[in-house]
Symmetry: C2
Subunit: 134 residues, 2 copies
């Protein structure tokens, strides 16, 4: 049986916040946007429709939980949710807190310029906030 | 009680494919990408988390149904799913068939250049295919 393993590019560009029922929750290492990523811990899945129905239902509720918490923590105007996978095929769902005037507003964050890495203390504080607040 | 009404900008830039259990299904009028949009027929909703849990579950299954059908019809390499709403706040979920070499690959389609309108016969044939194949 195939075992879930986080894609090396996702691992390199994010930090682990925690493991939820279905998904590993990651913080994208890009201080321009409060940006979380849910990766269902299932092997060899690249599309939502490849998950079984009960996993899809859990994924929807995990997206909801992240969206509510991230909006509360950041005061975002809008939450953007996206599952693209054109670069990294492993299924992963972006949930990004957006506000007018952010670096990509009103366009999408994906493919927009270069990431701005967090300093480690800012990043670690934010991860602690996320663990408490989501 | 507030009544669902499709946002005028979504209406102007798409054609109706049909009404499903929860959502109105639209074809975006952009021949560069096979691009469908699900709009839950609920008034005053701009975020996934504002839907109630049973609507969210239906939305996930409607996303799945579109994704499977669109991939079959188009032979797409990858399905992109996104709920952004930075320009039009009314909740709507994009489902886009992507392939290497398309006009925006591997970047997102949102905000990429100007739409290329369908000719009416090509568009109507595609809508017929979608009604049969989804």
């Amino acid at each position: 049986m195939a075992v879930f393993q986080l894609h090396e590019r996702l691992a390199a560009e994010s930090c682990v916040v925690g493991d939820w029922t279905l998904s590993r929750l990651l913080l994208a290492d890009d201080a321009r946007f409060p940006w979380l990523i849910l990766v269902p811990r299932r092997a060899r899945i690249s599309e939502i429709q490849e998950l079984d129905p009960s996993d899809r239902s859990i994924l929807m509720e995990e997206i909801t939980r992240v969206s509510i918490g991230l909006r509360k923590i950041t005061g975002a105007t809008k939450i953007n949710v996206g599952a693209l996978g054109n670069v990294v095929a492993q299924l992963h769902v972006h949930i990004v807190a957006r506000h007018p005037g952010d670096a990509a507003w009103p366009g999408p964050v994906w493919g927009h310029g270069a990431p701005l890495r967090y300093g480690s203390s800012v990043r670690d504080n934010f991860i602690e906030n996320l663990r408490r607040g989501l």
